[in-house]
Subunit: 407 residues, 2 copies
């Protein structure tokens, strides 16, 4: 049922980038441009919610089409992002007052935030505040996270591409490592604070015959003795041992193995890092093997040169669907993905209220992890394989993927 | 002039892998298979020269064609590699006696080693030894190095793909880094002990509008004061600063900035690492900026998912040309690439004696580096751009690039 609301769009990006976050922006923009009668202007927040609070908006209608078409292959957050947590407006409504003034000034009636759990918390607060103030504005969340930890949705855009990058990179690291007669114990640290979805995706490489021998996830409490026994057994048997480990693995008391002294990020989360080095020191001290600790690093979340086609398509579609749902009168909800079937893979879209999503976190179910807790099983493969299918052929200029420069 | 030598081929891989070393193997094998009358059997050394010394050979004729065709997209050294330096045979000929016995046993008359400077030193010794012993065997070197430091040849197979990977990855890291309003000073450590060709390739990203602001190479003695002044100026001006630095940069006294305590590799080279962290600590202490040090890591040398088409083609051709030159009676030489023209890019192949190559090292000429010594200029772009052109579409299975398993 189409409501009669007419006004402008405000779209923002939040939290860490993914390889396809700008594809969601592109999907939303393309759809909004089709409804020029209802949406005269499309704005993007410069540096996420901070831009919305400061009235620092980018007018999409002023951008060159030749630039906008490059959005789907552009890494990073093309409009800028931020990690900024809104206070409870019952306690301090300063930010909310600023935001409302900007929404009124630009006649924003359709508000979108493209992010993860924290962003959905922001959306939830804004939606409730605007309703309380009687300002009509449809607030819709567009899912985005490499971590794949958003609840309710089957998976999140950004995960499939990160998983594809990690699977290929691990395959390459393993092929490289086993090139030598006496290979070092390679320990690869992969992103993921509380959930192991990213690290688990390295199992795709194992399934294809060249992946890690052992995979350690935050979902399974880390057992040092068992770890050393695993490494010794594999190394003795195969003369190699490649380990994938989540940055967020923790011991039986819940202490992070890789907790650094760098304290906390702007959302208040502990900053992790160094678990590969911690484990390398352990292997070296207790087993005497040579080790090669490494971190996959930033590129995991922004490898636009290796997007999953399925992920790219879904990222564009969640943007498109978000715009349509807003026009249809929805507010206070995030777009979720439903897996309809696996062979061939088909998905559909539905909406769900922010509150459940903001406060939830989906971990890898125990049923997808092997009995020993040091690897994945076929149930995980059934889940992940459809999401990494298909390759995208981005346009290159001078050997580099073409990306979009927002004015 | 075709000589009348008839016998078997022995091919080996040496040193660190590249994204296209197996393409050279493929080129050589394809060509050798065409000459079955002269070459009844094709062997590969298992784990490089060590396999040749131990008689541990892989028979290529026994491999499945379906596997062999995947060689060009296979990362790592598909037949195994090793870092092993042969002694001077005038002092100790033990290894050489073993090798000669294996060559006689398998009737090897065409001997190829695919590697860098150290491998050409090995080839040189073997060629001279065999000539002294009167054993007729054509010894040919096939160039391979991501470092691009081999003299005489215009460039080396492996460099173009590594450069393409680094350029794209740096573009992605920069897009990611500038996604935030207040970005950290990102310091990216790139491989390269004595030459900065790999680090320099990040300038392709800068040229395309999203690359490092500052590039530090081993060719230029590192000046700490100038570095801090550069970082401060850029950060003040742009509110960002992305730095690419070679692992092998050294100060005015020639001391490596990133010298680790891990001593030496099997060739006796100092093991480097940590220069990004050294510089990050410096920036943090002296300028008070937040930093993000990172290492590009292993994937630089094995990213088969992002090969340069030009590099892949040349890698196959050096293998093919090596076989032809051996059949034509050449020995004691490496195949070199001559750049015939840049627009459109054309190259040809010639041979050059090992001795000059084994003991030489090509650094980036000062004329390709900017006046301040903290970046590259258009002369470098003219050199590098042709080498990173074109994309390859490898076949994927379950989201992962198909690679070859040698039996």
């Amino acid at each position: 049922m189409m409501n009669s609301l007419r006004g402008n769009v405000l779209y923002g990006q939040s939290g860490g980038p993914t390889a396809v976050i700008n594809a969601s922006a592109f999907g939303l923009i393309q759809e909004a441009l089709k409804h020029h009668d209802l949406i005269p202007e499309i704005y993007a927040m410069k540096y996420g919610i901070k831009g919305a609070l400061n009235g620092d908006l980018i007018c999409i209608n002023d951008q060159d089409d030749a630039d906008l078409v490059k959005l789907p292959s552009t890494p990073g957050a093309a409009f800028g992002s931020v990690r900024y947590k809104l206070k409870d407006f019952a306690v301090d409504d300063t930010d909310f007052c600023h935001l409302l003034a900007v929404l009124i000034q630009y006649n924003i009636r359709f508000f979108f935030l493209n992010g993860g759990n924290d962003s959905m918390d922001t959306c939830d607060k804004i939606d409730r505040y605007l309703k309380q103030k009687g300002y009509r504005c449809q607030v819709i969340g567009i899912p985005k996270t490499i971590d794949n930890d958003l609840p309710v949705t089957d998976h999140s855009p950004g995960y499939g591409s990160a998983a594809k990058y990690i699977a290929n990179t691990m395959m390459e690291i393993v092929c490289d490592t086993i090139s030598y007669p006496k290979s070092k114990v390679a320990i690869v640290e992969i992103m993921g604070r509380h959930t192991g979805w990213l690290t688990a995706s390295s199992h795709i490489a194992t399934h294809n015959g060249s992946g890690p021998d052992l995979i350690y996830l935050p979902e399974i409490s880390f057992d040092f003795e068992q770890f050393l026994a695993d490494v010794k057994r594999i190394y003795t048997e195969k003369n190699r041992c490649v380990i994938a480990v989540s940055e967020g693995v923790s011991d039986c008391e819940g202490h992070f193995l890789g907790l650094s002294s760098r304290a906390r990020d702007d959302f208040g989360h502990a900053m992790l890092g160094g678990v590969a080095h911690t484990l390398a020191d352990l292997v070296s001290a207790k087993l005497g093997y040579e080790t090669r600790p490494m971190e996959l690093g930033l590129v995991q979340r922004c490898a636009s040169h290796l997007q999953s086609k399925v992920d790219l398509k879904e990222a564009m579609l969640v943007g498109k669907v978000a715009l349509r749902r807003a026009l249809a009168g929805d507010s206070g909800v995030m777009i979720c993905i439903k897996r309809e079937q696996n062979r061939p893979y088909k998905s559909s879209y539905f909406t769900h209220p922010f509150a459940d999503i903001a406060n939830g976190e989906t971990k890898i179910p125990r049923t997808m992890i092997n009995a020993s807790g040091n690897g994945l099983n076929d149930s995980f493969l059934d889940y992940v394989l459809p999401l990494v299918q298909g390759e995208v052929k981005p346009k290159y200029k001078d050997g580099v993927v073409g990306f979009c420069h927002i004015k």
